[in-house]
């Protein structure tokens, strides 16, 4: 009987967030604090001829000035291609070229204006398809010299920083055998995460050379790794604190502005230096979701079986792809979405351009590839005269089937169950009731999606639990609650095993000096990976408690159990001892002590996750799990203005086990809203390498009035190695949004749109195109 897991307990961080008691990095004010401002490139691609900082240096109130030359070492998570400030040339408009620390923000900004930079403009690589051409100017001519993790395939002498190849079966022969072959192509633009809290960081160096960085970041240990590498300082002398994070969605997964303020802090010993991004910075200078062109050639049989897919994904990685290379790779091994296709030939390319830096964004490539994959399914269904749901059922990955990389599909794949649920919730087969206005049309649409965590095979987690003398507990991990509710879910897991109620726990996170290692808070992996580490820490504690209780009660350990905050006999329930009496060890009758304070240690790394074959991309166990699910959407199109209103969305995912059902629902609802944004409104408009709409004035995200009615559900086919059977769901929950909306749009209008977003203008253009 579970007591806490599977229950919708109230968020443990709720009160302090609602009241404003929770302090974010920008709330931190320290004596003597300096403020940084950054000089940024006005060109998308240019050589730096000269930087003259003398006037800035001379300005009263300026305490330090730094340029890229101070720390020219290239670093990066998967590919070491970036410096925190431009050294020899700038590669996107807005790239940092110099930075200033001053006693006020105003002086810092004034000083930045005084820095003179002489550039020699270089030809701009604006478009990913042009960037892939042989005669394209190179964004990184030295790509061949960059260090990278060996699982990536860079192509020195080109703009391609990763080429992931998937070769399964024999596509050429399969196309010959196909009854019909279809070709199509799609485009998704750059978008941005828009967390409510912008990036912010503070750095301070004490007289012993210990660097402390306060950062709004998803992954303190990954930030530490990047910074210790770049600045060549030992890990124990670089402490990263992340007190709280106001939303990340991937934008705060990497290391960005932290690397700009450390050189300033080094020059102003002892004084904390703060840099707070404006919303314009957040748009232009943190990360963006990469734009992507996809092409599909699909071979099908008349009965609906898809037997061959040849496709290409071209990712606009922007100026640096230290993170983007792994998105391209993930797309490559995702290849065909949640379908079982015997013959696949997929090429996925990460490509440098002079656009803003691409990086992780909720979905990590999967939303982008499913935009094409799922529309393609609708298209094929129509051509074959098969119901689009039926076509998906025929081709769906099912237990015992094969994934794109030829791994066996796990028994826990619940895609068909999810489909049944959504079809019912959206009442898919009942046509929409049409509105009274003759120019408005309503219709329903459907799409599936899937995602696996994309991470190094050995991405590890750890947890420490300390029992206090009154039987309460500290849970220490480095998972960051970035809004997804991990603090709450992780406490529930510990509470369940230790039988200590959640309110008796305090969770400590976000401090590399005090809390144990965590690879990253990304990839929808925290509940799974940290949850497993916590279970092990709890088992460690349980074993210690049982040992001590056995001595105290004179009962053999096998006959003891942990229940209701006590160790008790399984045979004689009145024979028991409360945890709190053992918290500091056991007191013997003669007054002596045994064992000492109870502390649990848990570590976890997924078992037997192995690399992809470098030539074929095939792998029998490359990822910890796949999460499957789908969306049903009903919308209304104003055929004259092009405005679209999403009326209702039903979604269902196979989450393995919902540790906290309300939090799963909240994640699903957030995903729906973010998905609507990406489908209807969001688009970074680039013109000649310049970001034309870096503010909420001209970059729109949904408001409360754009919310549809949401019917969110989940199914629970347990993950074999997940804590209580749980698997990740936060990112997968967004993936089918855009294709489901486009599918409903097609059903309403009979018009296909193969690029996002469906702005009123794009809709009208498409509708007029149909009429002509």
């Amino acid at each position: 009987m579970v007591k806490y897991v599977g229950k919708s307990i109230t968020r443990v961080d709720g009160t302090k967030k609602v009241t404003g008691d929770l302090k974010y990095v920008d709330d931190i004010k320290m004596p003597g604090m300096l403020y940084a401002a950054v000089k940024r490139s006005i060109y998308p691609h240019a050589k730096i001829i000269k930087i003259d900082t003398s006037k800035a240096d001379a300005l009263t109130g300026v305490k330090a000035v730094t340029t890229g030359k101070d720390f020219p070492k290239r670093v990066g998570l998967y590919l070491a291609d970036k410096t925190f400030m431009a050294v020899d040339k700038v590669r996107y408009c807005g790239e940092a070229v110099a930075a200033v620390a001053a006693v006020t923000e105003e002086i810092a900004r004034e000083a930045v204006k005084l820095i003179e930079v002489e550039y020699e403009e270089l030809p701009v690589v604006e478009n990913v398809l042009d960037a892939m051409k042989e005669d394209s100017p190179l964004v990184h001519p030295d790509l061949g010299d960059y260090k990278h993790i060996p699982i990536f395939h860079t192509m020195p002498g080109t703009n391609i920083s990763e080429h992931f190849k998937l070769r399964k079966g024999d596509v050429d022969k399969a196309f010959e055998d196909s009854d019909l072959v279809f070709e199509s192509d799609f485009y998704v633009p750059h978008i941005q995460h828009c967390p409510i809290e912008n990036h912010v960081a503070i750095a301070q160096i004490d007289r012993e050379g210990i660097i402390t960085v306060w950062a709004s970041c998803q992954s303190p240990y990954a930030v530490r790794a990047a910074l210790t590498d770049a600045f060549e300082v030992p890990a124990h002398k670089l402490r990263v604190i992340s007190p709280s994070v106001g939303g990340g969605f991937g934008a705060k997964a990497g290391t960005t502005l932290e690397g700009i303020i450390i050189p300033l802090a080094m020059k102003t010993k002892g004084k904390p230096v703060k840099l707070t991004y404006s919303r314009e910075d957040e748009f232009n200078n943190s990360y963006v979701r990469q734009a992507m062109h996809s092409k599909f050639k699909t071979g099908v049989m008349k009965d609906g079986r898809i037997i061959a897919v040849k496709n290409q994904f071209a990712w606009d990685g922007g100026a640096y792809t230290e993170y983007g290379v792994n998105i391209a790779k993930s797309a490559g091994f995702g290849a065909v979405g949640p379908y079982d296709v015997a013959n696949i030939h997929c090429d996925s390319y990460a490509v440098y351009t002079n656009n803003p830096v691409g990086g992780p964004y909720r979905g990590f490539g999967m939303s982008e590839i499913h935009f094409g994959i799922e529309q393609n399914m609708d298209y094929i269904a129509e051509k074959l005269g098969i119901d689009p749901i039926e076509l998906r059922r025929i081709n769906a990955q099912k237990p015992g089937g094969r994934t794109a990389t030829n791994a066996v599909v796990d028994d826990a794949c619940g895609l068909l169950e999810c489909m049944d649920k959504v079809i019912k919730d959206i009442d898919y087969y009942t046509p929409s009731e049409q509105p009274k206005e003759p120019y408005k049309v309503r219709a329903k649409g459907f799409a599936c999606g899937m995602k696996a965590p994309s991470m190094p095979n050995n991405a590890a987690s750890s947890a420490l639990i300390r029992i206090n003398e009154d039987g309460t507990a500290y849970l220490s991990v480095s998972a960051q609650d970035i809004g997804q509710g991990s603090d709450t879910a992780l406490i529930q897991i510990a509470a369940e095993i230790l039988s200590i109620p959640p309110e008796k726990f305090t969770i400590n996170t976000g401090d590399t000096a005090h809390n144990p290692y965590e690879w990253q808070t990304v990839a929808s992996r925290i509940t799974y990976s940290v949850g497993n580490a916590i279970i092990k820490a709890c088992e460690d504690i349980k074993q210690q408690l049982v040992q001590l209780a056995s001595i105290k009660l004179g009962i053999f350990p096998r006959d003891l159990k942990l229940e209701d905050e006590c160790i008790m006999s399984t045979i004689y329930p009145d024979k028991k001892i409360p945890i709190k009496e053992l918290a500091l060890g056991l007191n013997m009758p003669d007054g002596s002590g045994v064992h000492g304070p109870i502390m649990g240690r848990g570590i976890f790394v997924p078992e037997n996750i192995r690399n992809f074959d470098m030539n074929t991309g095939l792998a029998d166990n490359p990822v910890v799990f796949w999460t499957y699910g789908c969306y049903g959407v009903e919308l209304e199109v104003d055929m004259e203005t092009g405005n679209i209103r999403i009326l209702q969305v039903a979604s269902c995912f196979d989450v393995g086990k919902a540790i906290n059902p309300d939090l799963v629902k909240a994640q699903s609802e957030g995903a729906i809203v973010q998905g609507i944004g990406s489908a209807l409104f969001e688009e970074i408009i680039m013109k000649n390498g310049k970001f034309m709409n870096p503010s909420f004035m001209d970059y729109k995200i949904p408001t409360s009035n754009d919310m549809p009615e949401m019917k969110v559900s989940f199914v629970e086919n347990p993950q074999k190695d997940g804590p209580f059977g749980a698997r990740g769901m936060a990112e997968p929950a967004m993936i089918p949004a855009a294709p489901a909306i486009v599918s409903a749009f097609y059903n309403a209008t009979g018009v296909k749109i193969n690029e996002l977003p469906l702005t009123p203008e794009r809709v009208i253009k498409a509708l007029k195109g149909k009429n002509n």
Binding site: E106, N643, F681, D706, K765
Partner: protein
């Protein structure tokens, strides 16, 4: 944000003196929802900012049949949009005010400010144009009245001279007037107009059409109005008026919309407005 001198005078005379002293380097601060953003983005760099909210007489809103509606310079868009007389006699003005920015913006921003800002896409400018409003202006040489038709000179340019301050906007009363405000935007709420329109029908005889975001200033669609004069609003006439309204529009392409889309939307919005005015 750059440094500036902040003044909060309590009389128009005093305010005007400061404005004249600093000349081009002074800027009036009213709701501040445009000014503050523009200073922060370094688009404006005033030496003196003159806050007129301390001038008591600018905070009044009145209606009487003889003079019409008078909305003081410092009356917020929310207060105006919920004012009983505005809702009763000029719902079209209330409708246009209700879609400017967000609730928070409307609690600060004013109709006078929205118009003095002289953006081509000012939502409240179209009903004022259609209703032949006047601006009551304090001038060192003596108060004067400027017709809204003479007020907008170009993008962010008005006919106000240094030291002049708009006291209020006055809209004449009509015995029989129905109006419809419409806005095309990328998102339903909290968005700028891609195109906005006001169409009014006076005495069941005259049609007036004002368009925003399709020219350097908000404009009236005179050709369409001339055609509509005295005609019954049959389907055919409605379509023709809507098509003619497009002819006065000379929009540009920008991130909010292409020229083509804007022209298309002028026709759609004017037609829909006329259809509503038939009943």
């Amino acid at each position: 944000m750059n440094k500036f001198n902040y003044f909060k005078p309590s009389t128009l005379t005093e305010a005007s003196e400061i404005l004249r002293k600093y000349g081009e380097n002074a800027h009036i601060l009213n709701g501040g929802t445009d000014l503050v953003v523009r200073i922060r983005e370094d688009l404006l760099n005033p030496e003196a900012v003159v806050d007129i909210k301390g001038i008591e007489e600018l905070h009044h809103i009145n209606y009487n049949e003889k003079e019409g509606l008078t909305v003081g310079a410092c009356v917020s868009l929310s207060d105006m949009a919920h004012n009983e007389a505005v809702v009763k006699h000029f719902p079209v003005i209330a409708d246009s005010a209700e879609v400017v920015g967000s609730g928070q913006i409307r609690n600060l921003a004013t109709m006078v400010g929205n118009n003095c800002n002289a953006s081509p896409l000012a939502d409240t400018a179209t009903p004022l144009l259609a209703l032949d409003a006047n601006l009551l202006v304090y001038s060192p040489e003596g108060n004067k009245k400027i017709s809204i038709h003479d007020f907008f000179v170009g993008v962010r340019k008005t006919s106000l001279k240094t030291g002049e301050i708009v006291i209020a906007i006055r809209v004449p009363s009509y015995t029989s007037m129905k109006g419809v405000f419409k806005k095309a935007s990328r998102r339903k709420d909290v968005d700028l107009s891609t195109v906005c329109t006001t169409v009014v029908r006076i005495n069941n005889d005259e049609i007036r059409i004002a368009l925003g975001a399709v020219a350097p200033t908000p404009i009236r669609a005179k050709k369409a109005e001339g055609f509509a004069k005295g005609k019954d609003l049959t389907d055919e006439v409605v379509h023709q008026i809507a098509k003619l309204a497009v002819e006065d529009a000379t929009p540009i392409d920008d991130v909010r919309g292409s020229k083509e889309y804007r022209l298309h939307m002028v026709e759609v919005l004017v037609r829909r407005s006329l259809e509503e005015l038939r009943y």
